[in-house]
């Protein structure tokens, strides 16, 4: 989880990712950020987040994103 927060901080340093729950709905992350994020996640965690996982619910909070990574790792 810490590694993920680090990636997120790289994108927007001023967001409190521990508490934020509306990263997409609140327009903090835009589609460009999401693509950078997916590419970083592929590098660091070796999981592929495909287009079908790209729904706001999976990206609205660091926790939701972490859960998605876990799910994808389990599927591997």
């Amino acid at each position: 989880m810490d590694e993920l927060i680090e990636i997120l901080k790289d994108i927007h340093p001023d967001v409190d990712y521990e508490t934020a729950t509306d990263l997409v709905d609140g327009k903090i992350l835009d589609s460009f950020d999401i693509i950078s994020l997916v590419s970083e996640i592929a590098d660091k965690f070796d999981v592929v987040v495909s287009a079908e996982h790209m729904i706001p619910e999976n990206f609205n909070s660091a926790q939701a994103l972490w859960d998605l990574i876990q799910r994808l790792e389990d599927e591997e």
Partner: protein
């Protein structure tokens, strides 16, 4: 049957009356029938296209859903067999199950690909054949070849760009397991053809629209009133503003040699107003009608001209088209295997900065090219789309510079700075829209150039404005209408204007207000002798 025709008003009145009088289980079949009657009036031949797109995507959705169900059942069965040890691990073990799952998924992917390719092929043939021929002829002429290909006579079926996209999103969403396929062909046909949004969107998703579309609805005075209010506001925008300013825009763009310099700026501003009033007005009518039927349809605009930059503008203008392109083109391309490989390669060879941007920019380029050509089969629209791409990329690249500027100059909460941003958005977007107006791309650039080269602002006051096809009274009505538009938009910043009216103004007051609005439309709407309530701009896309 245009929304602005008397026939449509009659059709709508009859349909809404029947909708609430007939038994509830007849409501969705009535809507289907109504939608096909509505579309029949657009041209009976067009019915074949919509039926073909419906049938193709219906079958694709059904096959994908069936495969998913049987694959899931087989997968669970394999798991059970593996647990109980009654079959060999080669057949039902973890590896075998993984392979099975992957195989089935790629089977579903193939069905999806065939389904959407066929549906898009219809769109491509009717919309882009002549454009392709035009370009081939251009190449032939460049090489001085004597031969030319004749253009085909294919009429573009009304709304095909909208309903095809809606049907394609349905197939992809079934594949992505967002919802199950609709097994009832007629119910699915209603989703594709739902008449209020058939000709100019919004492009709804099955997951959002389906539940309310098929469920029974009881008559509610409140819903009816709110829907009616929204419809009236839409007619006001369309008939009082858009159609009134239309003759002036047409005069200036039809004879561009007579209207250079300051008049190009006028075209920019007038067309921006016309398009906004036309398209948002049409969508207001759509959403209002759906509301009268008890069916909520997603909003397509969020006061776009109040955006701080172009990227934000595109999140607030034609929202359902923007999210369609993001979900079904931008994301799949940018996270596809080849793109991730390209990203890795470019990071290694071209540096972290370029590597990070390359896939995003490449995907954005494709999205904007497609957005352009989706709007119309002409280079004007392609260049317009790519113009948007360039502006967004520049503002993305300038981001660090902006950050530096904001560190030095505090603009937080500054009204002046906000106004500057909004003004910039309006100017850039209106300038790009010139590609919608002039005959071809070189002419558009030339006319844009005259804004700086031909200094004729002083002629604006010499009576030329009154020779554009609209009178002094028209200007006054337009000015008042535009002010009203802006005021309502300002009120809408903190939530729905209709909600506020409902809370603050008792029923009789609201009815008086809306009767006044109705009278304004009847008196000041641009129709009748000398005027022809014109087609909505987006109907042609």
């Amino acid at each position: 049957m245009l929304f602005t025709s008397y026939a449509f008003i009659g059709f709508l009145f009859l349909l809404v009356a029947l909708y609430y009088v007939l038994p509830k289980k007849a409501q969705w079949p009535l809507l289907l029938l109504g939608s096909y009657v509505f579309y029949y009036f657009a041209g009976w031949k067009f019915l074949f296209y919509i039926l073909a797109v419906t049938l193709i995507t219906y079958v694709a959705g059904l096959l994908i859903s069936r495969n998913k169900k049987s694959a899931d059942a087989r997968f669970s069965e394999m798991k059970e067999l593996d647990k109980s040890g009654s079959a060999s691990p080669e057949e039902v073990g973890k590896e075998a199950r993984k392979k099975f799952k992957e195989n089935e998924k790629s089977r579903r992917r193939r069905i999806m690909a065939i389904g959407i390719t066929l549906a898009l092929l219809i769109l491509a043939v009717v919309k882009y054949t002549n454009f392709t021929i035009y370009n081939i002829n251009g190449i032939l002429s460049a090489f001085h070849a004597p031969k030319r290909i004749n253009f085909l006579t294919i009429a573009l079926p009304t709304g095909i760009s909208f309903y095809t996209f809606q049907a394609v999103s349905y197939v992809i969403d079934v594949y992505r397991d967002r919802h199950e396929a609709q097994t009832n062909f007629f119910k699915y046909a209603l989703f594709v053809s739902f008449f209020p949004q058939l000709v100019q969107g919004p492009i709804s998703r099955y997951g959002d629209l389906s539940k309310e579309l098929y469920s029974p609805h009881s008559f509610s005075g409140r819903t009816m009133e709110r829907g009616f209010q929204r419809v009236l506001w839409g007619y006001f925008k369309k008939l009082v503003i858009a159609d009134r300013i239309l003759p002036a825009v047409n005069t200036m763009i039809d004879t561009p040699e007579n209207f250079k310099g300051a008049y190009v700026f006028l075209v920019m501003m007038f067309y921006a107003l016309e398009l906004y009033a036309d398209f948002t007005g049409g969508i207001d009518i759509t959403i209002g009608i759906a509301e009268m039927l008890g069916i909520p349809v997603k909003e397509n605009f969020e006061r776009p001209f109040f955006s701080k930059n172009i990227a934000e503008y595109w999140r607030r203008w034609h929202i359902t088209m923007g999210t369609w392109f993001t979900d079904y083109i931008f994301y799949p391309i940018s996270v596809s295997g080849p793109m991730l490989k390209l990203s890795k390669w470019s990071r290694k060879h071209l540096g972290e900065k370029v590597g990070k941007r390359l896939p995003v920019y490449l995907a954005s380029f494709i999205v904007w090219f497609t957005t352009g050509i989706w709007h119309g089969a002409s280079w004007n629209f392609i260049v317009w789309g790519l113009g948007n791409f360039v502006v967004i990329m520049i503002s993305q690249e300038l981001e660090p510079l902006y950050r530096k500027f904001h560190k030095k100059v505090n603009t937080d909460g500054s009204t002046v700075y906000k106004t500057f941003q909004v003004g910039r958005t309006i100017l850039i977007m209106s300038a790009l829209r010139l590609f919608d107006c002039y005959r071809n791309v070189p002419l558009t650039f030339k006319m844009f150039g005259t804004m700086f080269a031909t200094w004729n602002w002083n002629t604006l006051g010499n009576g030329t404005l009154l020779q554009l096809g609209i009178s002094r009274a028209d200007y006054v009505i337009l000015a008042i209408g535009t002010i009203l538009l802006i005021v309502v938009s300002m009120f809408a910043r903190s939530g729905s204007v209709r909600d506020k009216l409902e809370k603050k103004l008792p029923m009789p007051g609201r009815w008086i207000l809306f009767t006044v609005l109705l009278l304004l439309i009847l008196v000041f709407g641009a129709y009748g002798q000398g005027y022809d309530a014109s087609q909505f701009i987006y109907n042609q896309f």
